[in-house]
Structure formats: C-alpha cells, structure tokens
Amino acid sequence: MTLLVGRRVLLVEDESLVAMLAEDMLLELGCEVVVAMRLDKALAQARTGSFDLAVLDVNLGDARSYPIADLLFERHTPFLFATGYGRQGLEDAYKAVPVLQKPYQAAPLEHLLTRLLMEEPLARPGTRGSSMACACHTPNGQPIRADHCR
C-alpha cells in the first residue's frame, strides 16, 4: 500500500536476527527504518527523532518497552506492539494499543500500520482505543489470528 512509502518508522526489537527480519519487511513496504535494540537507545531515538510510526517489541530482555510507548503517546506518534504473548500479555494501561502477533508477517504488519496512519492519534493509556473494529478483530475486540488477514 502506497500510504506507507517513505514513512519513517522506529523499530524497537532486541534480538539481532528477529530485528533483521522486521527491518526487511518494513523496507519492503517502502518505509524508512531506524532500528533500536536497547531501551536506552530507543528512548533516545523516540525523544530526538521524528517518526511517522513505531513498532515496539514488548519484552526487551531485561526491560519492557513501556517507557518508549509513554514517550510516543506524548509525541502523538502512532505505534503498535509486536509480541508473542498477544494482548493479554500487556499491562492494563496499554491494552488499547494495537498488537501484532509474533512471528512477524508482512500482511498484518502492513494492515495495522496503514490503519494507524489513517486513524486519529491513539488513545492515551487507560482509555479505550477509538476504532478497534477492523478485519483483524472480532466484534468483541479480540484479535484473530494473523493468517486470517491475508
């Protein structure tokens, strides 16, 4: 989808090989990618860089990526969480953030990123997301499996 071409994306992913894969997927979608693999580096990027979108791995080994999420909320940068746990693995304050189920897949990644760009800025922590109804979600807000999105 052309909407993603040329967009600057902050990718936060702490495993070398997994980061490679996600970066390649974003590059293939036409995005410009900045990779950060450690909490401090990602915070520095989120603080000083200018991004259209962000993709955050939740578990950064010895830390969680929530402080980055807080910064992105402040800066009105739309973002999603990429996690193997699914939504139930998120802290309550972040449950309105869209979740991309790992392993990474190009189609749902593209779908969610495009939707983030078309939406209003994300709800602040503690409030419900504005429009969770889309092809990737059942009516009760539960994400369905990513392979249904093809």
Binding site: E15, S16, L17, M20, L21, M37, A63, G84
Partner: protein
C-alpha cells in the same frame, strides 16, 4: 440452624479433647494420652470449635501455625476468627459475618476452601482448610473440627511455575521468530539449490547454541563451550586443534549473548570454509579473547578471529547475512562494536561485547529473592 446445636463446653473441660469418646473412667487416661499423642504429632493444624465459633481445642501444629497457645486463645474468650482471621490482606478489618469459614459452618463432612490468616506477629499466610461438623447422639451439630494447612509453599510454587511458563513461552516464540528470520535471509533472492544446505547448517548452529544453554538450565552459557561447539565441524566432533588455536578465559554468558555469538561464529566458519583459511588444508584460525572490567561494573568481552594460511583475500562484492549479523546487529544488540577486515593474508574479525548482566524479568521471584 443454630437452635438445633448444643454448645460444646468451652471452659472447664476445654483441654480434655473429644470428651464424648470417653467410654469409662478406667479408659479415660489411656485414651486421652493416645489422642494427645496423635494430635500433637500431626503436621496439620487441628482446631475444635464450639457452635459460637470459639476455639476450645487446638493441637501443637495449630499453635505453631497461628503463634497463639491454646491457653491464650481460651483466655481471649472470643470467636477464633477474631484471633487468626481478623484482617484482610489489604488491611481492611474482616468482620466475622463476612467469613467464609464461619458462613460455611458445615452441614457436610470435609468442606474445603482457602483463606488468608493473620499470624500473631502480623504477617499474612495463605491456608487451605477442611471443615467437618461434630454431631451429638441425636445428630445435632454441636461444633466443628477444622483442619488447616499453611499453603504458602504451594502458592509460591504455583507462582514460580506461572513465571517459568511465561518465560518459556517468550523464549519459544523468540526462537521461532529467529528461525523465521534465518529462513527469510537464507532463501531471499533467486532460488539457489545450495540454500537448503546453508539453512540446515544455520539451524544446527542455533540448536547447538541452545544445547549449551540447557547445560546450565537456560540461565547462562560457558563462553568456552559456546566457542568450542560453534567451531566443531559437527555435533559428534571436537574442534580440530590442528586448525584452530583457541586462547582465552572462560566466562558466563547471558543466553542472548550466547545465541548471537554462536550464530556469528558459525557465519565466520562458513565463510572460512568456503573462501578463507578452512578452504585449504594448511590454513589456520587463531581465536583469542579476553575480559575487561567496564566502569559500570560489567565486563566486556574482546574477541579476535584471525585467519592465516588461506588463499589471498579479496573483499566480497556484496555484504551478506553473516557480515550484516556481525557488523550491524551484534553491536546494536549489546551496545558493543564489531569490525571485519578483509586483509589480504586472511580475514580478521574483532568483536567488543559488553556482557549483559545475567537474569531476566521475573527471575528474582523464581529464585525467592526480593526485587526491592
């Protein structure tokens, strides 16, 4: 139905348990002695309650569990609830009428449940209880016998198990994502019949790195083992010491460091076998490493890979998976640095890796350490 109950005596004969068991005066002493031996050696706490929920007998295990002696409890002359169950864990008062044990004054034998009691010293502890009615000859309920067990250990074990399963889930998901990434990197571009062999070898390298981790319960890996396993030609073989000179101290590596380093070494090996020192019989590789203290208290691993005796080296036209992993990903993952030099006499790779502190989110709980 409190009216149908005949109260057990809670004063004069309180310390003589189960008076109804008396059959004759001659047997009394022997029976009581036997019962006391049973009750005071039982590991489960036993409370005998009258129909006002006053405790009229408790065994030695119950005294140890609650921190109160039977004499003290009798002297309080109040429901047992007000002595051992008076406060919710969040600090709110816990009135008797809200108490599940009290409400469930059992009509049936062996009613079970879980509650949180307050020790005499103020700390809370989870208990499992079993309550059964005591009936008189006319089957009226005249009291309750309650067995109580401290289930702190079981609760802690369940919590440890929950955290371990979460961690396992995380690691399995990560490993699958790693495999997915290796497949994507190996099979990108036009179809190549050799790619399948390259992929299989990378899978073996990943699997071998995990074997080293399992040796230490996934907590850490021995640096020397990671190196030796990565450089061995296959699973059943040792490192060929005619080919490799290895020199450096052992260290404990965080699992993340172990896996990425093993994959990096595998890529260097593959490249050396295809183009470098391992592609000719006389070629050698010298691998040396050392550890240095950093200012923040961590250690840094400095590792140098140097090939010699191979064909003259020319820099590759295109950087592949191996150099991307080593020169770009590895420094970003560990806040270190990496450089591959294509010197004519042989490839040199130098890595500086600050060693991540061992441990993972939730590990303190698993090992019973307090996070604070």
């Amino acid at each position: 139905m409190p009216n149908s109950r005949q109260p057990l005596q809670s004063t004069a004969v309180a310390s003589a348990p189960l008076v109804s068991l008396r059959r004759g005066a001659g047997q009394l002493f022997e029976t009581e002695r036997r019962l006391n031996a049973v009750l005071n050696n039982a590991s489960v706490s036993i409370f005998l309650m009258d129909d006002r929920q006053h405790c009229i007998y408790m065994n030695r295990a119950a005294e140890q569990l609650t921190g109160w002696t039977l004499d003290e409890v009798l002297a309080r002359d109040c429901p047992l609830h007000d002595i051992v169950h008076h406060t919710y864990p969040d600090g709110r008062p816990f009135p008797l009428h809200e108490c599940a044990i009290d409400r469930a004054f059992p009509e049936n034998n062996q009613e079970r449940g879980e509650e949180v009691f307050v020790h005499r010293d103020g700390h809370f502890y989870p208990v499992g209880f079993t309550a059964s009615p005591i009936r008189d000859d006319a089957t009226n309920i005249i009291g309750t016998i309650i067995e109580v067990r401290d289930i702190s250990e079981e609760k802690a074990a369940a919590e440890r198990q929950r955290l371990l399963i979460n961690e396992l889930n995380h690691r399995v998901k990560n490993t699958l994502a790693t495999v997915q990434s290796i497949a994507a990197q190996t099979f990108r571009g036009p179809p190549d019949p050799a790619a399948r062999g390259v992929f299989d070898a990378r899978m073996v390298a990943l699997s071998t790195a995990h074997n080293v981790l399992v040796e230490d319960n996934w907590e850490s890996a021995s640096l020397r083992s990671v190196i030796e396993r990565a450089l061995a030609p296959h699973l059943l073989a040792e490192v060929d010491l005619n080919r490799f000179q290895l020199q450096g101290p052992d260290a404990r590596l965080h699992p993340k460091v172990a896996v990425t380093l093993a994959m990096a070494l595998h890529e260097l090996m593959t490249n050396a076998a295809k183009y470098g020192a391992l592609s000719v019989p006389e070629g050698q590789i010298v691998l040396t490493w050392s550890l240095h203290d950093l200012e923040d208290g961590r250690q840094q691993l400095n590792l140098r890979w140097e090939e010699c005796g191979g064909p003259a080296v020319t820099p590759p036209a295109r950087k592949g998976f191996g150099s991307r992993l080593i020169e770009r990903q590895l420094p970003m993952e560990f806040d270190g640095s990496a450089e591959i030099t294509y010197a004519p006499a042989g490839v040199i790779c130098e890595l500086q890796i600050p060693l991540t502190t061992l441990g993972w989110v939730g590990q303190e709980t698993i090992e019973g350490r307090q996070a604070s």
